[in-house]
Amino acid sequence: MTLAATALPALVEFAGVSVIFDGRVRALDDVTLAVGKGEIVGLVGESGSGKSTLCRVLVGLTPPSSGTVKVGGRTVTEQLAQAPLAFRRRAQLLLQDAVASLSPRMTIGRTLEEPITIHALPRANARLELDGILTRLGLSTDVLAKFPHQISGGQARRVGVARALLMKPEIIVADEPTAGLDVSVQGELLNLLLDLQRDFGLTYLLVSHNLNVIRRVTERTAVMYLGQIVEDARTSELFAKPAHPYSAALLSTNPVVDPKKRAHPIVLQGEIPSAVNPPSGCRFHTRCPVAQPKCTSDPPLLLPLDGGRRVRCHFPFSLAPRGQ
């Protein structure tokens, strides 16, 4: 299993990870992915793709039903069993609903004390650091006395980041970091995340349904469909020339403002199938505009292509990126 596109040592390694809920729903199916130290990797996919589950497996919220996830060479399961607090400090997850991720009856100040108390961080030191982090994130100290429902979505998101940073993590997983934010303030938050990555040497796994965010911020992107990774490539290459028909269709749905650059999106037939009973063969064949008979019966494997790209398709590059 070659690791894609990364010359950096892998910090995170997913090896054949599957997650099955209630014995029926295959949220993740045999996922293999590596994230190098300091990389910014994007994860795109629609409902049922498994991207949220992947994030939760990484931070240890959901145990894999089979396969292993390694962070820094040791499996997550092992680290959680032997030194849970240390592992928690390594990998943090920023939840999609930032306001709801803060305890509703605690002030922001109390919430930010949680990591200090739980991990028994030296108090005086931690206070100084917190002040520094707040300034860095553009939050004034009067936010500390407020309750989650009194602050804006953007502020809540930054509080979440502050909470994560207090533990000096190596990895930050961000689930839809710009969801709910107005376009006019998205840029600020993303700039912030990029600055933090640079200054602290963080590794990011970024989930977003906003393809423009993925395109501008990430170096590498994995496209997921029904619990599987269908393509994994350098972001610029993926957007320029997607190999998997689903990637091509998904990327073409992004409406563009500039009338000169506008093109017809590829409109897929049918709905996203259920994860309980995925289609036979290639899971995408029911909606694929260029499916062949082989696709109905023969499930394709995630195989490497040139340039460090991986694709799960029998006939990659058979769908032109922007329709006709």
Binding site: Q186, N191, P259
Partner: protein, 340 residues
């Protein structure tokens, strides 16, 4: 094509629309004097971020307002008749007959206790009272097929929870179309849908133009979507319209600083690297009733004149209007070559 607004009488003519509501912190100015024309057969996109009042504008057109509304002033001329002073029974005659609406969340907009067939039948019977059952059924099947639902006859007996999000949205659209309205309001109809499903609905809406002869108001926060679907664009900020006009003209050459800033923030085709643009500051508090340009605190071109009073929506080109006292100056400054 793009000057049609001025020459034909518009279907809807909104003048000086004000909407205020009482909140615990004071009177919120949700709409601060809206002037808007919706041409017959045109698709008008209304774009705005949080606090812009775009959803409230749609609510005003249908007069489905929350209980804490304290003031609704101005004029909404619908085909010549002012809707604002109408009493409830008269207003109700318009809803579901001449004005229809599609909502953002298809899950909560359909009654979980009724089948799709019942929903459609109710809509049809409201429009054509006393319609026979088999006629209603025939028309329902046709309505569902026209929005791309396969096995329409089977679907009539499905309950909302048995359908996917995209399917439910199609059902809602077919219900709205069955009304045969003069005006169709669509409030973020694709926001809750997955990208590929959204593409299907967008394609459906585009094809609609050929069969639907009424006007459409398409409300969205997504500029790209509006650019693709609409003829005219109306940009809202903090309860006011800051710019309006044909969509390609406005997006190709915005006159109002907010529109320009918003476009710059759209993470478009640029490759990675380089700082991302955002607009510093925050949307003004609706309780703040200051009589000045609403965008002034965040505007890079602000001058004293901007604080003297709310700028009127004035001419900014053929069929275009912008609420900026300095738009000509700014255009001029921008057209000058950069100093060496």
């Amino acid at each position: 094509m793009n000057a049609a607004i001025e020459f034909a009488r518009p279907l809807v003519s909104i003048r000086h629309l004000r909407l205020e509501a009482l909140t615990a912190r004071g009177t919120a100015h949700i709409l601060r004097g809206i002037d808007l024309d919706i041409g017959k057969g045109r698709i008008v996109g209304v774009v705005g971020e949080s606090g812009s009042g775009k959803s409230s504008l749609a609510a005003c057109l249908l007069r489905l307002l929350p209980a804490n509304v304290s003031r609704l002033d101005g004029e909404i001329l619908f085909d010549g008749v002012d809707l604002v002073p109408l009493r409830e029974p008269a207003m109700n005659a318009y809803r579901g007959a001449r004005i229809a609406m599609i909502f953002q969340d298809p899950m909560t907009a359909l009654n979980p206790l009724f089948t799709v067939g019942t929903h459609l039948r109710d809509v049809l019977r409201r429009r054509h009272p006393g319609m026979a059952s088999d006629e209603a059924r025939r028309r329902s099947i046709a309505a569902l097929s026209s929005v791309g639902i396969a096995d329409a006859a089977l679907r009539l007996d499905s309950y909302p929870h048995q359908l996917s999000g995209g399917m439910r949205q199609r059902v809602m659209i077919s219900m709205a179309l069955a009304v045969e309205p003069d005006l169709l309001l669509a409030d973020e109809p694709t926001t809750a849908l997955d990208a590929t499903v959204e593409a299907q609905i967008v394609s459906l809406l585009e094809n609609l133009r050929r069969t639907f002869s009424g006007s459409i108001v398409f409300i969205s926060h997504h500029l790209g979507l509006v650019a693709q679907l609409c003829d005219d664009l109306c940009v809202m900020y903090a309860g006011t319209i800051v710019e309006s006009g044909p969509v390609d003209d406005v997006l190709g050459g915005p006159r109002h600083p907010y529109t320009r800033a918003l476009l710059a923030c759209e993470l478009d085709d640029e490759a990675a690297g380089g700082r991302l643009v955002s607009i510093p500051g925050e949307v003004p508090d609706p309780v703040d009733a200051r009589d000045a340009c609403v965008f002034a605190p965040r505007c890079p071109h602000v001058r004293e004149a901007c604080l003297a009073g709310m700028p009127a929506l004035r001419d900014a080109g053929p069929g275009r209007r912008a609420a900026c006292v300095r738009w000509e100056e700014i255009e001029f400054e921008r057209s000058k070559p950069a100093p060496r």
